[in-house]
C-alpha cells in the first residue's frame, strides 16, 4: 500500500519510545513483495473457445469500453463459457480500485490473506436471488451482488429466469454507480459500478431461429418470454449479440484462435486512451452522457452520414443512436484512432440484436 507509513508496535512502551525519540521498533513485513497470484486461478482462457469469433470480438469491445453486454442464443452455444472467460481479459485494477474492492470484501469477511485484491470480482448470482441479495440489505445492512461486483463483472445467466422485480431494481445501481440501502437504523450507501453481462435463450425451449431444430414454444408463452428481453434494463445494455449453436464442422475447423492475453493487451490500450481522453480514472465510453457524446465521439462526416442512413433505414430510437455512437467510439479506441470512421459505425451496427430483431421473431414464433 503506497502513501501510508506503517509503524508496527508490539507494546505500549514501544509507542512511548517512538513518540519521544522517533525510534522505529522494527520494520513491518511488506506484503507488496508477494508475487501476484498465479494466473491459474483465472479459470478460462479464450483459446478454449472455438467457432464464436464474432462473439469474442463483441466481448472484447464490451470490456474495452465498459459496455454492458447481453448474449442471446440456444443452449450449447457456449454463452456460459464465453462469460467465464471474461475475467481473463479484464484490465488490471489500479491501487485505488483495488482498495475499494478490498474494502467491500472486508465487510463480507472475504479478504484474501495476501493483501489487496488483485483480481476484479466476477459475480454470478443464481437466478433465484432475492432483491435483498441483489441490492444489499439485512440487519446490519450488508452489500448485495451489485456491490460485490463493484469494479468487476455481474454475470446474470438465464437473464429471463430472474424475478422481474430483481431485474428492474438493477436500473438504479446501473445508472448511478451506487446503491443506498435504507433500513430502520439508518441509510448506507454502497458503490455499484459494475459491468453487466447477461445471457438468455432466445425462447423458452431455446431453439427459436435454429436452422435444424424446431422451436416448440407456443405463441403466448413465447410472447411472454420475449417481453422480458425488452425493458429499461435491456435498453441500457449497449452490446446485444446473438450466439448461435456451434456445429460440429466448425469445431473441427477453427478460423482463428484468440488468446486472452492478446485480447487483454488491446483492451488495456483502449482503456488507456479513454482514461487520457476523459482525464478521469476508470471512466469509460459507456459512462458518457448524451451531452458529452457529441463532443467526445468525433465522427468523420462519412461516418455521421452512414449513421444517419442507418437510423432512417432501421428506424432507430434516440437511445439506440447514442448507444451506437458510444460503441463506435470504443471500437475506434481499440484501433487507436482519434476519429470514429465508417468502419467503426458499421461494426457497431452488428451489436444490436435485440433492437432490431423482435418483430421478425415474434411473427415467426
Amino acid at each position: 500500500m503506497s502513501g501510508l507509513n506503517v509503524i508496527a508496535v508490539g507494546t505500549l512502551r514501544e509507542v512511548a519510545e517512538y513518540l519521544s525519540s522517533g525510534a522505529v521498533p522494527r520494520m513491518p513485513r511488506s506484503h507488496a513483495a508477494l508475487p501476484r497470484p498465479s494466473d491459474s486461478i483465472v479459470s478460462c482462457d479464450f483459446d478454449q473457445v472455438i467457432g464464436q469469433d464474432a462473439a469474442i470480438r463483441a466481448i472484447q469491445v464490451a470490456v474495452a469500453g465498459g459496455h454492458n453486454l447481453i448474449m442471446v442464443g440456444p443452449p450449447g452455444g457456449g454463452k456460459t463459457l464465453l462469460a467465464s472467460c471474461v475475467p481473463s481479459i479484464l484490465p488490471a485494477m489500479d491501487e485505488h480500485e483495488a482498495l475499494e474492492v478490498t474494502c467491500i470484501q472486508s465487510i463480507t469477511g472475504t479478504v484474501s490473506p495476501d493483501g489487496l485484491a488483485q483480481k476484479r470480482p466476477f459475480r454470478r448470482p443464481h437466478h433465484t436471488v432475492s432483491p435483498v441479495g441483489m441490492l444489499g440489505g439485512g440487519n446490519p445492512p450488508m452489500p448485495g451482488e451489485v456491490t460485490l461486483a463493484h469494479r468487476g463483472v455481474l454475470y446474470l445467466d438465464e437473464f429471463c429466469e430472474f424475478v422481474p422485480q430483481v431485474i428492474e431494481s438493477l436500473r438504479g445501481p446501473m445508472e448511478d454507480g451506487f446503491i443506498v440501502v435504507s433500513r430502520s437504523h439508518g441509510r448506507i450507501g454502497f458503490p455499484s459500478r459494475f459491468m453487466l453481462i447477461a445471457s438468455a435463450n432466445p425462447c423458452p425451449c431455446g431453439y427459436l431461429g435454429d436452422p435444424e431444430r424446431v422451436c416448440v414454444c407456443q405463441g403466448a408463452a413465447l410472447m411472454r418470454y420475449r417481453r422480458k428481453l425488452a425493458g429499461p434494463v435491456i435498453d441500457r445494455i449497449d452490446i446485444q449479440i446473438e450466439v448461435p449453436r456451434v456445429r460440429r464442422m466448425d469445431l473441427e475447423r477453427p478460423v482463428a484462435i484468440f488468446t486472452s492475453d492478446s485480447i487483454r493487451e488491446e483492451v488495456e490500450r483502449a482503456r488507456a486512451r479513454q482514461g487520457a481522453r476523459f482525464s478521469q480514472r476508470g471512466f469509460t465510453n459507456s459512462a458518457m452522457g448524451p451531452r458529452s457524446i457529441e463532443s467526445v465521439a468525433r465522427l468523420t462526416p462519412a461516418a455521421r452520414g452512414l449513421l444517419l442512413d442507418a437510423v432512417d433505414r432501421m428506424a432507430l430510437s434516440a437511445r439506440a443512436y447514442h448507444k451506437l455512437i458510444k460503441v463506435s467510439r470504443t471500437i475506434a479506441d481499440l484501433d487507436g484512432i482519434d476519429d470514429v470512421e465508417e468502419v467503426h459505425v458499421l461494426e457497431a451496427l452488428q451489436y444490436r440484436a435485440l433492437d432490431s430483431e423482435p418483430q421478425a421473431v415474434l411473427s415467426y414464433g
Binding site: D53, A54, L346, Y364
Partner: protein
C-alpha cells in the same frame, strides 16, 4: 368432375344487394345450410330473401334441406334483420361482406365444389385483383422454412403475384411478411370469425396484413375456431389460388391438407425440398415423391407458373439492376451471403477477420442488399 359435382353452377346469379345480401348472410350463418343448399334454395324460391320468407312462414321444407336446418331457419322471425345486423357488426370491425356473385369474389374460388357463399373481408386490397399463389407450411418451422417462405413470397411479389396463406405461426407468417416487405399484396385466411378473439400475435399480424392486403374469413363474425374450421380455411386458401406451394411440412402437417385440397381442386402443387433426415421436411419431400413439382429456385418457380398460364411476369435479370459500388471486401461478403446463411459459414468461406465481415454485413444491410434474420443469419434481399 362427375355430373353430380358439376350440376351446380353459379353463373347468372345476380349480385345480391341490401335486403338480398342480408338474406345471403342469414343463410350463410344458418347451420346446416352450405353453399350448395343455398344455390338450390335460390333455384327453388328465386331469391334468398324469398327463401327466408318461406322458411319464416313455415312453408313446406325442400327435400335437400335437413329438417333441423329448416327448423332453425324458420325459428328466426326476421331473417333479413339478422343478416343486416351481422353486416353492421362486420362494418363496426372494419370488415365488409363479399357474396359469391360479387365482382370482388375471387374468380377461382367460385369454381370449386363448395365455395363459401359469403366471405368476410377486412382490408384494402380487392380479392379479385392479383393472381394468387398459396404459400403454406408448418407452424413448427425451422429457420430454413421461414427463410424460404419469406424469400419465395418476395419473389412472387416481384413477379406480380399475390401471396395467400393462413396467418399461422411459422411458414404462414413468414410468407405474409415476405410479401409485405416486398410491398406486395397478401391475403390471410383465418379459421374463425373475424370478430372472434385473436391472440396478440394474430391480432398484430392481421393489422399488418390488412394494411396492404386483406384478412379473410369464410365464417360469420363471431364464429369460434375449432378443429373443423381449419380444413375449411385451407379449402379457401387453395381454392382462391392458382397454385399451391408447400414450403416446409412434417408428415402430419395441416399444410398437407391444403395441398390435398389443391390437388382435388385441380391446382398445381409445388413443394420446397428439404434434408432427407429433417422431420420438418418429410411431408414436402413425400409430396415431391408423389408428383408435386419441386421448387429448386425462385426464378424457375416463377417460370413454371408462367408456363402454366398464370399471369405472372418474369423478373428482369436477377441482380443486374444493382447500382451500388461495393468495395472488394463488401463484394466478397455479398457473394458469400445467399439465403439464410449463417455468420460462421460466411466467415469460414472468406479469409477475413470477424470484425471486417461484421462491418461489411452492416454496410450491405444499410444499403438494403441483405437482411438479417434471427440466429446471426443473413439473406439477400431480392426485391
Amino acid at each position: 368432375m362427375d355430373d353430380a359435382k358439376s350440376d351446380i353452377t353459379w353463373d347468372g346469379v345476380p349480385e345480391p344487394r341490401d335486403a338480398e345480401l342480408a338474406s345471403w348472410v342469414f343463410w350463410h350463418m344458418c347451420p346446416g345450410i352450405g353453399p350448395r343448399s343455398l344455390r338450390r334454395l335460390l333455384m327453388e324460391f328465386g331469391t334468398a330473401a324469398a327463401a327466408a320468407h318461406a322458411a319464416s312462414r313455415s312453408a313446406k321444407r325442400p327435400d335437400f334441406v335437413s329438417r333441423e336446418a329448416w327448423r332453425i331457419a324458420s325459428s328466426v322471425p326476421d331473417a333479413v334483420g339478422a343478416g343486416q345486423s351481422e353486416i353492421e357488426l362486420a362494418s363496426r370491425h372494419g370488415a365488409r361482406v363479399v357474396a359469391l356473385p360479387s365482382r370482388e369474389y375471387p374468380p377461382l374460388l367460385r369454381q370449386i365444389y363448395d365455395p363459401p357463399a359469403v366471405l368476410y373481408v377486412m382490408g384494402r386490397a380487392s380479392l379479385a385483383d392479383a393472381p394468387w399463389i398459396a404459400v403454406v407450411g408448418s407452424r413448427s418451422a425451422t429457420s430454413y422454412g421461414t427463410g424460404a417462405a419469406r424469400y419465395l413470397a418476395r419473389q412472387l411479389t416481384a413477379a406480380g403475384a399475390g401471396v395467400v396463406s393462413g396467418m399461422a405461426r411459422g411458414v404462414d407468417s413468414a410468407a405474409h411478411r415476405g410479401a409485405i416487405e416486398a410491398g406486395g399484396v397478401t391475403v390471410g385466411v383465418i379459421g374463425a370469425g373475424l370478430a372472434y378473439q385473436m391472440t396478440p400475435r394474430l391480432q398484430r399480424l392481421a393489422g399488418e396484413v390488412a394494411k396492404s392486403g386483406c384478412v379473410v374469413s369464410p365464417f360469420h363474425m363471431n364464429y369460434p375456431a375449432s378443429r373443423g374450421t381449419f380444413p375449411a380455411r385451407n379449402r379457401v386458401i387453395s381454392g382462391m389460388a392458382h397454385a399451391c406451394l408447400v414450403v416446409e411440412a412434417g408428415v402430419r402437417s395441416g399444410a398437407l391438407v391444403t395441398s390435398a385440397f389443391a390437388t382435388e381442386q385441380n391446382r398445381d402443387v409445388f413443394a420446397v425440398p428439404g434434408d432427407i433426415n429433417r422431420p420438418t421436411s418429410a411431408g414436402t419431400n413425400a409430396l415431391i415423391y408423389d408428383g408435386a413439382r419441386p421448387v429448386i429456385g425462385a426464378r424457375r418457380f416463377v417460370e413454371e407458373l408462367a408456363a402454366a398460364g398464370i399471369p405472372v411476369r418474369l423478373p428482369n435479370t436477377a441482380g443486374g439492376g444493382r447500382t451500388h459500388n461495393l468495395g472488394p471486401a463488401d463484394e466478397a461478403v455479398f457473394e458469400a451471403v445467399q439465403s439464410d446463411t449463417s455468420f460462421e459459414d460466411i466467415h469460414l468461406s472468406l479469409s477475413m477477420p470477424a470484425r471486417d465481415v461484421l462491418a461489411s454485413l452492416s454496410r450491405l444491410e444499410v444499403l438494403g442488399l441483405i437482411v438479417r434474420g434471427p440466429g446471426l443469419r443473413y439473406s439477400r434481399k431480392h426485391c
